[in-house]
Symmetry: C2
Subunit: 199 residues, 2 copies
Amino acid sequence: VDKERFYKQIDFLLELDKLKTIQRRSYLTNGNRRENSAEHSWHLAVMALLLSEYSNFPIDIIKVLKMVLIHDIVEIDAGDTYCYDNIGNSFKDVREKRAANRIFGMLPLDQAEEFRSLWEEFEAGETPESKFAAVLDRLMPLLHNYHTQGRSWKEHGVTKSQVFERNSHVVEGSLVLGEYIQNIIEDAAARGYLSETDR
Amino acid sequence: VDKERFYKQIDFLLELDKLKTIQRRSYLTNGNRRENSAEHSWHLAVMALLLSEYSNFPIDIIKVLKMVLIHDIVEIDAGDTYCYDNIGNSFKDVREKRAANRIFGMLPLDQAEEFRSLWEEFEAGETPESKFAAVLDRLMPLLHNYHTQGRSWKEHGVTKSQVFERNSHVVEGSLVLGEYIQNIIEDAAARGYLSETDR
């Protein structure tokens, strides 16, 4: 056993514990607390297993699993940037790239490169796998918001047109899930979970 | 789209949110709170990606991923049974089988059968994949305990010989990780994180 390699892997795995302390904006469906990015990543992985039949394209499921499992690791340093926070998002790229360098850089070179490239592929959203992973990453928070009567939308004054725009690309990954997402947004607005008027 | 199938999948995914509220005995390495079973499952999945090279046998990594992602879902109904709780463990099988029937039974039949059979394979621990998944499921809580000065061991008066026995099968899945686990236990006992004396 290459001990240096092994201890790099263990140190990285211990570092990952921090993702369990990164709070997202969405609340659990029981409304008791915000979701953290580690449990969110788990939820997307199980979704990937169950919903892959709705991808527009044939996908390599292991690649989708890897992507959703690691897509938020950079938040350990960069924090969770709320998708409707324009200022935060303008600096997001720089912060997340620096985070990727440090955190993935803890791994042995081959694994660092694999994770880094999976993360970049996910961020770019140009391949069938990354498009499908993005759909999952949109759908689950939408369901969380819907099942908490739009709690996090209301807290941040999010409007229907913002949510539509945020979800405008999901049809590229899955027509079926894209249509479902559209129906949820319409229904959420009709129920008053989402504001109809732009500020 | 088969709507009945689709809504079964979505209802199951919403049900999974409850796993985020199931508390395990181990504390996060920062010691702030106990870990929940959803984030634990995520952690094992990333471990599987990084440590598969230490399996004694060639393994189908997708199968290992599926197993660790779903291995604790039954806890939604059955709760987390502490591995050193003899009374709790004597009823664990019955409780968990009932839970598996209800929860996996929410899925469309083909997916219910797949998840059920993966969970049974994990529980039986007889295949290369389930043996390796079991190693991961032992190693991570050990690291959590070690990095919190044996906090959860101390709270429950767990002894070195109990931890050795609990981990006696890990070498079947991975000699490398089995040896590492043995060293951690010795070191933890030497540091007083684990009691040397049986009660």
